[in-house]
Amino acid sequence: MADPLAQSLAAGTPSAFAELYDRFAARLVKTARRMGCHPAATEDIVHDLFVAMARSRANFESVDNLDAYVFTALRHAVARHQQRRRLEHAAHGRLAESALQRDDGAADMPPSANESLAHALASLPPEQREAVGLKIDGGLTFAEIGAVTGISPNTAASRYRYALEKLRILLIDSFVNE
């Protein structure tokens, strides 16, 4: 059954977009940051995402799962942002290398307190990091993660599990090395 909020969004009701923001903005920002976006860029991504959804509000007519729809839009926005960053990196060469590493890594964490976790997250394959962000920060179920990323719920659960296992090993290594 369609979300009643989706119908109000399709009608272009301003209060519906305020409700959409309150329901999703914090989760979207945190998920994008966990997926490796730079903190400063993350707010612009989410801002532009809401404007884009308002422009194409007619699409809400056919939305059954609002969470899956919004996080799919976020995933595409993050992918576009990271693609742009890669192109900038290619254009500017080594000068942009360090900035890209910060952006793809976990610069959203304070370097002192969360350095180990940040490095561990940054070393995950992008699809596993994405699964962690959508599950922990987005609060999505594996079925929703599967819908967002175009994989089965079982595959989504496996990616998440692999991510946790790799993080555990990396964190143990970092503690041992300390």
Binding site: Y21, A25, V29, K30, E43, V51, N114, L117, I136, L164
Partner: protein
């Protein structure tokens, strides 16, 4: 799906405890302002809609309209009384343009002279009251430029 082993649940808890920062406070107003600019005007809240700003306020209801009508009728009645008191004819003496054009010709005016259709002269002069066919010696004709006395003399 199998439940997570304890060591992986510990990692999960660690991730939850070290969640990234949320959005800044300013992002909400910045985003919603931009969204409002994208939405069509007719979907704005009712208190912001142009229709309520530009139309007659609801307070001006039937009672107000009736009182305005009463004031207009009172003013008309006072005007008619003032005209009668000064010996002028009642508005019933307003004539159709064809009659007035003939009279204008009798006053020596050009046929196309742009006068208004109100003649207060012919029906209320001593000559008219006596049944004479002669035109009034000093007719009063209301023109677009005011009341003209003795138009024959202007020619």
């Amino acid at each position: 799906m199998k439940p997570l082993p304890r060591e992986l649940m510990a990692v999960e808890r660690l991730l939850e405890e070290h969640e990234p920062d949320g959005p800044s406070v300013a992002l909400r107003s910045r985003t919603l302002d931009a969204v409002l600019n994208v939405l069509p005007i007719d979907s704005l809240p009712e208190q912001q809609s142009l229709s309520n700003d530009s139309c007659m306020p609801a307070a001006l209801d039937a009672a107000s309209a009736l009182s305005l009508l009463g004031m207009a009728l009172s003013l008309a009645w006072v005007g008619v009384g003032w005209l009668s008191f000064h010996g002028h004819p009642s508005p019933a003496s307003i004539r159709p343009p064809a009659t007035l054009q003939a009279q204008a010709r009798a006053f020596g005016m050009e046929p196309g002279y742009p006068f208004l259709a109100l003649d207060v002269a012919a029906s209320d002069t001593p000559a008219a009251r006596s049944g004479s066919k002669e035109p009034a010696p000093h007719p009063h004709v209301l023109t677009p430029y005011g009341i003209h006395h003795g138009l024959q003399g202007n020619n």
